[in-house]
Subunit: 163 residues, 4 copies
């Protein structure tokens, strides 16, 4: 089931992304990470664009990346994201960039939840927190969320549309 | 006097701007053009940021550029912009990129005037149109704008603040 | 047959490409053009990477672009390139960016042929010139290239691999 | 004395660097870091361009950044870099981005030393290692490097050319 919760895309490296060392310039990997996060959110059932329409944003508060092997022009990269953890006001996404089976770079970003009108911290709606919590690897094996008698079960992954 | 109406800046080329051919990637010149336009507007007395605060924007409707000689990493470039013409709803800015005396690239952008709330075409306020018209090279030599008896003279360049 | 000679790709707009006007920043369209040129060359049977391995490059000598309607975050764009004309030392590629049926931007780039070792002008090998000439729209209807007795026919499009 | 060993520049934020949240897109801070590293190397007496002419490169092997407060269009940023530590085959640079007195972002990059011909790990020449070691904050107060009686003092910053 976990594969449903991975954001993944293939990306062909343009000349634009290279630098004069003949490899992809290091800042571009953070753009690659963003692309995979977009696909992760799409996979989790609510795109980032839709999140913004609800007046919520997820600005990056920190980023970390390890560069293993350089990507090059015209490489066909596979970029992946998955949710490491999520709390009401903050979440972490782990990302990787591969060329075939070879891991080129990996890292993560931590995001705050903000209200786009005030640009101030906000809490994720319970519905989203519950749904996204299920996207954290290993979440399926975790004790079920406390469900008081009569309480609605958390949204099931089966309802997730993958556009 | 005309030098007051030129937007100009020096810019040190970072590695980020290069590509694997060892030269500045061609799309970056449009960013250089933008930087010089920002300085042109500052020189003309109203920054683009201040224009936006008046709910006006100048999106690019067309761009043209000729690449003469490549810029390279760590070059100290001089980027210049001047107003080619301005009408109520549209204007053109001519830009150039030099390394010392050597012309590396030149081109222009045409901009529409829009209302940022509706993103629809708008007219420049008469005050701005009058002021900016004076920034067009040769404008000083042009016949004086029609000045009906008692009409206020167009704003004088001497009032221009150069931040 | 002409569709074989079009470079085309779909591209999902990341947040990275937007600016504070809420639309794709204008310089990024030149990157989009590059992406479609890469696919055009792949479609014509020799990738730009392979061309570089032959020590040939196609730096841009001029670019022109008209912006019709802004692209936005998360739009799925279709970017297309086709060869407008090719001569021994220069060629032009026409590009367009669409969202569904809607044309957002169109323009072209003119490229010089250079030797990557000297970075000086060079001529396309006859084989490439002949092959690419066939990719120019309408080329099929043109008079057949002069084929002296015993001369080899130009390479046929049927030999083109589309990776 | 330590201020001589800081790479520092002022940088006016262009529209190009913003995104539709109205702030500087997060990947651009890594470009800002690079700009300050370039100035740090210039301050330390050998530019990165000159290092490359010696066939040495300093690719990034990891990067980390904390985003405190967003930078915005037309902000005049002060970007600073200093050497955190240096060893024969690796070094770390700490960077910060400020608007006036306000810290907007801070982080660091770790760099490998490589031979640009082979793209394989290399050692810094002793001369560079010795010179750069003095640029590490606190290095002046540190126990003197092995100094046999009568040995020459470590190279003085006064020998540093600041281009």
């Amino acid at each position: 089931m976990s594969s449903r919760w991975i954001g993944q895309l293939e990306y062909r490296v343009p000349y634009a992304d290279t630098d004069q060392m003949g490899v992809v310039y290091y800042a571009n990997y953070l753009v690659y990470f963003e692309r995979s996060r977009n696909e992760l959110m799409r996979a989790m059932g609510l795109t980032y664009k839709e999140l913004e329409q609800r007046q919520l944003g997820l600005p990056v508060v920190s980023a970390q990346i390890d560069y293993k092997t350089p990507a090059r022009y015209d490489d066909l990269l596979t970029i992946r994201a998955e949710l490491a953890w999520v709390r009401g006001v903050r979440l972490q996404v782990d990302c990787s960039v591969c060329r075939g089976d070879q891991l080129l770079a990996m890292g993560h970003t931590v995001h705050a939840v903000i209200d786009l009108r005030s640009l101030r911290p906000a809490r994720l709606p319970d519905e989203l927190l519950a749904r996204w919590s299920q996207a954290v690897p290993g979440a399926e094996a975790a004790p079920a969320p406390i469900a008081a008698a009569g309480a609605a079960a958390p949204p099931q992954p089966t309802t997730v549309r993958n556009a």
